[in-house]
């Protein structure tokens, strides 16, 4: 779960990392008021996308009037597909220099990875590798100030910046651990009057750990449909094609999408009905697919823990309640395959046993329906 900039900065501030004075505004009036109190500000769109600045998501206001006007322009605008609902008004900083620092989890070493660069202010992917200082953390030891000092030295920092940076890395690691962060990033980490200030921040929380972070604000990401499917507990991603897909297991769902494209079709979604799904969630998932009004639906089930007769029951149930007004292709093999196929046949639904055949047929039917 991503956190908005203002939330991320709140967490930084709680952990003693300096941020500029700022506040959330949601109207021209509150923006004007913010300039009155803070002086010249940057008005920053609170959206969960990178490259916000270049896309016009950060503008400046020197006077209350200008604050109201700029806020009026920005609020409600669409930025890379996201509607701007809130702005963060932040005192304008006389930035002398921009650094970068972040902590993520490195999958290969299975360790936390601290990255820093003296060349911040741009996406870290755009920084040359030899300008990035990387250090892995031994999670049984953690991050102590010396770790930060060694990085500060590699960055060429001196004097107060040297010490402030060391201290900051320790605090950043506390956030990473205590908040179960997937990513905590300060970019740019600004130098203002010779001191470090977090000028922008990202904080992404591990979804699996949200249960122990009731203190964090809940941020919904994704389309309304995605949110709805996530609420029923299934993994779902909207794609831009016209063949709706359901499979059991994330790998199978990916492979099914791949198969649709392989035969020249366009998948409408990714939907993992779960590795051992029973009748009810399977029926709910299928209901979602129907509601998308695709050109065809492909259900691809390898019955391992999932029982084929359960899947068949779910299909029959949806057919006989909300109805399935689009071509439906079912591939059904594995546990209780015979019972499942019989159930479907009784309702006039054919079942494939080979994945390739089913995918090809789904693409064929979608083309016919166009």
């Amino acid at each position: 779960m991503k956190q908005y900039e203002y939330m991320a900065k709140g967490v930084l501030a709680e952990h003693g990392i300096p941020i500029a004075p700022g506040r959330l505004v949601d109207s021209p009036e509150s923006a004007s008021q913010a300039v009155t109190e803070l002086g010249p500000v940057a008005l920053k769109a609170q959206v969960l996308v990178g490259g916000r600045g270049k896309a016009g998501g950060i503008r400046f206001a020197a006077t209350p009037e200008e604050g109201a006007k700029v806020a009026g322009d920005m609020l409600g605008m669409t930025l890379k597909g996201y509607r701007v609902e809130k702005l963060y008004a932040e005192q304008k900083l006389p930035i002398e220099n921009e650094l970068y620092v972040s902590i993520t989890t490195d999958r290969n070493t299975k360790k936390p990875l601290v990255m820093a660069s003296a060349f911040g202010g741009v996406e870290i992917e755009d920084v040359a590798n030899d300008k990035i200082v990387k250090r892995y953390v031994d999670p049984l030891v953690g991050v102590m100030p010396y770790f930060g000092r060694e990085m500060a030295q590699s960055l060429g920092l001196r004097d107060s910046l040297f010490k402030e940076f060391s201290d900051l890395v320790v605090r950043l690691y506390q956030i990473y651990r205590e908040k179960d962060a997937e990513l905590v990033e300060i970019n740019p980490l600004a130098v203002v009057s010779g001191h470090l200030v977090a000028a922008d921040a990202r904080l992404n929380i591990d979804d699996s750990a949200l249960y122990r972070h009731s203190e964090l604000s809940c941020v919904e990401e994704g389309s309304l449909l995605e949110q709805r499917v996530h609420e029923i507990g299934l993994a779902y991603v909207e794609l831009d094609g016209d063949i709706a897909i359901m499979a059991n297991g994330a790998g199978m769902a990916m492979a099914t999408i791949d198969a649709i494209e392989y035969f020249g079709g366009k998948p409408a979604n990714f939907l993992d009905a779960g590795g051992g799904a029973s009748v009810k969630p399977t029926a709910e998932a299928l209901g979602v697919l129907v509601s998308m009004k695709p050109k065809a639906i492909l259900v691809n089930i390898f019955g391992g823990i999932t029982r084929c007769d359960d899947v068949a029951k779910a299909i029959v149930q949806v057919k006989n309640t909300v109805g399935i007004p689009v071509p439906l292709v079912v591939r059904l093999v594995g546990t209780n395959e015979r019972e499942g196929v019989e159930l479907l046949n009784r309702e006039g639904i054919q079942a494939y046993s080979v994945m390739a055949d089913a995918a090809e047929q789904a693409v064929h039917m979608a083309k016919e329906a166009r």
Binding site: R107, A235, G251, D258, A259, E261, F270, D272, M355
Partner: protein, 290 residues
């Protein structure tokens, strides 16, 4: 033969009294797995499927001398269960639960390294060695058969699909192992390939990968020293960047973890890369006949 898990192992089930634990204990026993005990706090003294249940791993260790443990406890308790197993001398741990916080997995995996413990998962279907009639996991029993193919996968049902197609093509398996779908798991392709390299009966290895991370790229270089043919199938060709495809690990992040870079890396080190799962069996047959 097999890797990591044989019929000589003595398996305990942590969380044996839960629904999942009970069901899969029955399945594992049915496959022939030497399940010697279960652990469920405050349920010690009872039995599940005629298997004795203990309050603690410590108690199980002194009573039934297990070598391996499969963990079915809910995700919030998984770290505790894994440490309980490790600190009590268990040397092979299969972590079934999904949604274990990544920080917990980091702690588990790094402690396991320090203690030289093999962790499979979390968020895995487990490991099965058909020749040994032994499995620790939630995979269906009937889709495997003994044979010369080693399979290592990141994903569950997809590996079932492929293992079943191998079995139907009369290409049996030495061991099929699921590394798990989470960003941080105990094994890498390299650690598993190294096991397959040392197993004389494994004559060909199938890698089932997917988008996200760089596990496949890291593994590619190792292939040169494997000395056995590798067939790779990777899922997620059509996945858009920035979208998590079910698995917490399966996401193309800012240009990293794309299928293309993975396939290129594997090909350049001699792997036979197929584009669709149903092409795996044929590629394995060709590799074995060469």
């Amino acid at each position: 033969m097999a890797i990591l898990l044989t019929h000589q192992d003595r398996v305990i089930v942590q969380g044996i009294t839960g629904n999942q634990g009970r069901f899969h204990t029955r399945q594992m026993l049915g496959y022939g797995t030497p399940v010697v005990g279960g652990v469920s706090p405050a349920k010690g003294g009872t039995e599940v499927e005629d298997i004795p249940v203990f309050d603690t791993v410590k108690e199980a260790v002194s009573a039934v001398q297990p070598t391996a443990s499969i963990v079915f406890v809910p995700a919030p308790f998984a770290k505790d269960a894994a440490f309980e197993a490790m600190e009590n001398g268990i040397r092979l741990i299969v972590m079934i639960p999904e949604h274990i916080p990544v920080q917990d997995s980091i702690d588990i995996v790094n402690r396991a390294r320090a203690l030289d413990v093999t962790v499979i998962g979390p968020n895995t279907f487990g490991i099965i060695s058909p020749q040994e009639h032994t499995k620790m996991g939630i995979m269906p029993n009937h889709i495997y058969k003994p044979g010369p193919v080693g399979v290592v996968a990141r994903s569950g049902t997809l590996s079932y699909e492929i293992a079943y197609s191998l079995t139907q093509s009369d290409l049996g398996q030495t061991t099929v192992i699921g590394m798990g779908g989470d960003p941080v798991v105990g094994q890498t392709f390299i650690t598993v390939l190294e096991q397959f390299r040392r197993d004389p009966e494994t004559r060909c290895v199938v890698m089932v990968g997917e988008i996200g991370g760089s596990a496949e790229e890291e593994a590619a270089e190792y292939l040169s020293t494997l000395g056995k043919p590798v067939v790779a199938y990777l899922a997620g060709r059509a996945a858009p960047p920035g979208k998590r495809m079910g698995h917490a690990g399966a996401i193309i992040e800012r240009g990293k973890g794309t299928l293309d870079s993975k396939e290129q890396a594997l090909k350049s080190h001699g792997a036979q890369v197929v584009t669709m799962p149903w092409q795996v069996a044929q590629a394995v047959r060709e590799a074995l006949s060469r």
